[in-house]
């Protein structure tokens, strides 16, 4: 879980970098170039398979572990536990499920188009999908953008717990570094979350 999660976190930063190209007012030149590179480069293609495997394994393991956890307490308490725990750390399966719903939506909108499983109207003369226009079409719809923003807030909470939790599971816990790891996780989750959220806001309000 922890290895996979940390790998996915690195990927998110790369993805955010590409998405931020959407903010350039160049008619999508940079963004489409980045999308083209990601879609054609062989090294990236290998990583794509690894990434997909990571996503699937992370989700499957998450579900299996959660089911085991539910089964380990067949009789519930009358009074729900009142022990102090870090915010939302108890609800990773729920925040994770919300992210999974988003992932499916996201795949429908982008990845499956790339694979040619879903048709789309924005095609370049060379027959390649124009992802800039696809993204723009989605982000100018307020409903889509609001859902997108809310989902990224949930992802932010998921990541906030995930980062330090992953290191703890890997055995990295030392009084000298614990505060740094927790703070880094918080900053990471806020920056990634705000980075992604800024893009629909830009399309909706600024442009």
């Amino acid at each position: 879980m922890s290895f996979l999660g940390l790998f996915l976190m690195v990927f998110l930063v790369v993805h955010l970098g590409i998405n931020l190209c959407l903010l350039r007012s160049d008619g999508g030149e940079w963004f489409n170039a980045a999308a083209h590179f990601m879609g054609t480069n062989y090294v990236v293609k290998v990583f794509e398979v690894i990434l997909l495997a990571c996503f699937i394994l992370h989700i499957l393991l998450g579900i299996i572990l959660q089911v085991q956890n539910w089964m380990s307490r067949p009789v519930r308490y009358e009074i729900t536990n009142k022990t102090y725990t870090p915010f939302l750390s108890k609800y990773m399966i729920y925040t994770g499920s919300v992210v999974l719903i988003f992932l499916i939506l996201h795949f429908m909108n982008f990845y499956f188009i790339k694979l040619g499983w879903v048709s789309n109207i924005h095609v370049s003369p060379e027959g390649e999908p124009n992802f800039y226009l696809i993204a723009q079409d989605l982000f100018i719809q307020p409903v889509y953008s609001i859902i997108y923003i809310l989902l990224f807030i949930v992802l932010g909470f998921h990541l906030n717990h995930a980062f330090q939790s992953a290191w703890q599971t890997l055995g990295v816990n030392h009084p000298q570094y614990n505060t740094f790891i927790t703070r880094f996780g918080t900053v990471y989750s806020i920056v990634v979350c705000l980075g992604f959220i800024f893009i629909p806001l830009y399309f909706l309000l600024i442009r």
Binding site: L65, Q68, N69, M71, S72, R73, P74, V75, R76, Y77, E78, I79, T80, N81, K82, T83, Y84, T85, P86, S89, K90, M92, H161, Q164, S165, Q168, T169, L170, G171, V172, N173, H174, P175
Partner: protein, 246 residues
């Protein structure tokens, strides 16, 4: 103090339990929680009723027998104390107190508030010891141990095996207990010899018995009466990975 008690009553492991409400009067705030239950039991015995069964032994926080889940907290609302060290002054006059047994698949209820914690013994039997061959006692200073290591090992050894960590954890995970038992030896030269097989066997048994998986919510650490640190869990994870890989 006047109190309303809502207590889990269950005849035996097989029967269906239910909550029964009792009211108690004239309880001194200086009374310990278990003394308060003793008073209730005296009253029940006088009325020819079945007294409430609960585990206890030392009543001074060292044996780990007491195991009551009180108002949503294992060992009650006080920090770093066992239920036997909890006093009634932590409650208010007229309070309703809900008392439940530890809830976890590997800790089945025996009767009322008493649960079977022999699952912990089974884990200990897998390697929670060091093998010492008989012979003359060795000179203690032959093996040098750093102050830091001995302190950390002593901190881990403070675990009394009460099971509050399992009771508090939303996953009923025993990681804090097992990690304390692994750490107390892993930190010391005498324990290093069997360290690899110890951690592998204890973790295997923990999983086999049906304890949940750790999701790092740290409820265990927050409720542990002996303040066992989560750093022990990280240490056990390190030990486990190294033992598996190397």
């Amino acid at each position: 103090m006047k109190l309303i008690l809502k207590i889990w009553r269950q005849k035996n492991a097989k029967s269906q339990g239910k909550f029964v409400i009792y009211s108690l009067d004239n309880i001194s705030p200086n009374c310990s929680f278990l003394e308060m239950l003793d008073i209730l039991n005296e009253e029940l015995i006088q009325k020819d009723e079945d007294p409430v069964v609960f585990d206890h032994d030392c009543r001074e926080g060292i044996c780990g027998m007491c195991s009551l889940y009180i108002n949503g907290h294992p060992h009650g609302p006080d920090d770093a104390v066992t239920a036997c060290q909890l006093h009634m002054r932590k409650f208010k006059d007229g309070d309703t107190i809900v008392i439940e047994p530890w809830r976890a698949k590997p800790f089945p209820v025996i009767k009322d508030l008493m649960v079977d914690r022999s699952a912990f013994d089974k884990i200990i039997q897998e390697g929670g010891y060091i093998s010492v061959n008989t012979g003359g006692a060795a000179e203690a200073n032959n093996i040098l141990i750093s102050k830091e290591a001995s302190e950390l090992a002593m901190d881990a050894a403070a675990c009394i095996g009460c099971g509050a960590c399992v009771a508090a954890c939303k996953n009923a995970s025993a990681m804090l207990f097992v990690s304390a038992k692994v750490s107390q030896f892993a930190l010391l030269p005498q324990g290093k010899i069997e360290a690899k097989q110890r951690v592998k066997k204890m973790v295997k048994m923990m999983d086999k018995l049906g304890f949940g998986n750790c999701t790092n919510t740290y409820a265990c650490e927050a409720e542990c009466p002996k303040l066992i640190s989560r750093s022990n869990i990280a240490r056990m994870n390190r030990e486990f990975m190294c033992a598996k890989i190397i």
